[in-house]
Amino acid sequence: MLLRRCTQGLCIIGFILLSGAIILDDMPLLLAGGTLIAGILGQYLVFDHQIRAVVSSAEVRRSVSRNPVRRGMVLQVTTRFTFRGTPRMHVQISDLLPPNTLIADGTTTITTRPDPTAQEHLCSYRIIPLIHGTLNFSGISVTVRNLFFEDTIRMTRESDQKPDITVQPSALFAVPSSESSEGTRDNRKASIWSSIDIHSLREYITGDDLRHVDWKISAKHDKLFIRKYTQPTNFPPLIIVDLPWCGTPCPEKEFERMVSEVTGLVKHTIQTYQYVSVLFISGPNILHLIREERNMSRCIMELREWMHPSERQVHFYRMADRSDLRSRVRNAEHALEQTTDNPTQAFCALLHNRYISILQYQRTPAFSGQVARTVSQLRMTQAYLFSLGCGDTSHIRHVVRPLKTQMIRVHIRMIEATHPEKPATSEEPADAAGVLP
């Protein structure tokens, strides 16, 4: 509880009067000081009664624009405060943000005028969760002040902290930090000269790259020795698992088969290449990346943890790849030049205009960039994509495109419900319903 400025002044006067009364043994001063202090005490009792009335009537209801949310994404929060005011009391209510969140914009505080009726106020703001996991709101803070006093009460009961926000991780796209402590950058991309093994050593010849000098051997023999690396070896394939959306029923039998196929391929890859990388996606959402895992049992455990229908933050519906659209525009233009038939020309012109208008309004989805950044961290020459093909499959094209750009061979295993005994295997999502014809 804080004394406001005028109350502090009155308290000082009261104590001066009482001190004077003690020193001078003067009854009139005691009466003046005593009544003044009694008046302040009485006002404190009134204030205490009023703050209880306000706080006990305060309620908070929050709604969030989406839940769960991905880490780093902006989340809209709308908070509705209701309380019963009292005369001459200014009430200020602040929504306390969850820990480890940033406020992007909006206001979290409402200030009310004295009004003895029931009041309802809305505040709206946007926050950015900085860590993943389950985040709780910290409650609300109610500040009440009148002419003499001011007090703040933090309401942090369980009901004041609802709803819980589930924040999903999304830091898979960052390039891993260098493991070197010498300030050098660790380039994990495979190049023509660097690989995982040193093939041999030879003496330094003028013109050799000094970065390849083996300093330990050079110091031992007092001569410069250059490392010769092995030729690029076969890297293990990247396994991409497209998990179905938990919002729609998925064929259990096919899903189990996909799980067993993925598990088998993972085991085979570890046995053959000593490690494996598995990328879990669910539609146009990257969920998790098992990066270069060498331990079989740990890898299987992670597969068990992640291999189930998943929630999707983002959904695509017939989201065509921009490169495909451009090639279709070119095809339409070519057809337009070739044909002389009027109805065909009209059709090609219409098609051309449609593709152009789609290109104008449809931007490259963030998912494509995320896939490109994720796969750029890994060394591979081929990738396997497993999908059930449930619902819209246009995101598959957005996975395949960045892989193809990096000269990676992609095998798509579409385990379809209609032909469970004969899964389609192709390099292109030929039956991808989402890709425009």
């Binding site: 509880m1 003690i22 009139p28 009466l31 005593g34 009544t35 008046g39 002419l147 942090t156 004041d160």
Partner: protein
């Protein structure tokens, strides 16, 4: 014609009371009371648009309380009640029946304080009584506030 503000009506009552008290007691420094009454009236007039007006009124009213209670303690009590009423009216603290009840309680409390002072020969015993009562009230309030905060913090 603008209506008289409510605190001015109490000032008139206070002025009449102070005049009566001064005349009855025939004090040799009778003019002090009128000077202090003039001071209070001046503050009441000058601070009519200021914030924290109650503070200035209380500050200017206290000397009048002391001056009047020097000759008669009950006269001082009368001035205390009038000044408190003016402070409450100026701060809009007397707008409902509940507020009037609170003000009446304050007047009753002041009467009890005056009664204790009247019975006491020296300041110290009376002050001890007031301090003890205030400490008990503050202690009870602190405990209640602690419990209240605990309840709403979910502890």
């Amino acid at each position: 014609m603008t209506p008289l503000l409510p605190e001015y009506s109490l000032l008139i009552v206070l002025g009449a009371g102070v005049t009566g008290i001064t005349l009855l007691q025939a004090s040799p420094v009778w003019y002090i009371n009128f000077l202090l009454l003039l001071l209070l009236s001046g503050v009441l007039f000058l601070t009519r648009t200021w914030p924290d007006r109650g503070f200035y009124l209380a500050c200017s009213g206290e000397p009048l309380v002391v001056a009047c209670s020097i000759t008669n303690l009950w006269a001082g009590l009368f001035v205390v009640c009038m000044v408190a009423g003016m402070v409450c009216l100026a701060s809009r603290l007397l707008e409902s029946r509940k507020d009037i009840g609170v003000f009446a309680l304050f007047c009753g409390g002041s009467f009890l304080i005056a009664l204790v002072i009247q019975w006491s020969n020296h300041v110290l015993p009376a002050l001890l009584v007031f301090s003890t009562i205030s400490a008990v009230i503050l202690f009870v309030l602190s405990v209640r506030t602690y419990q209240f905060r605990n309840y709403y913090s979910g502890a």
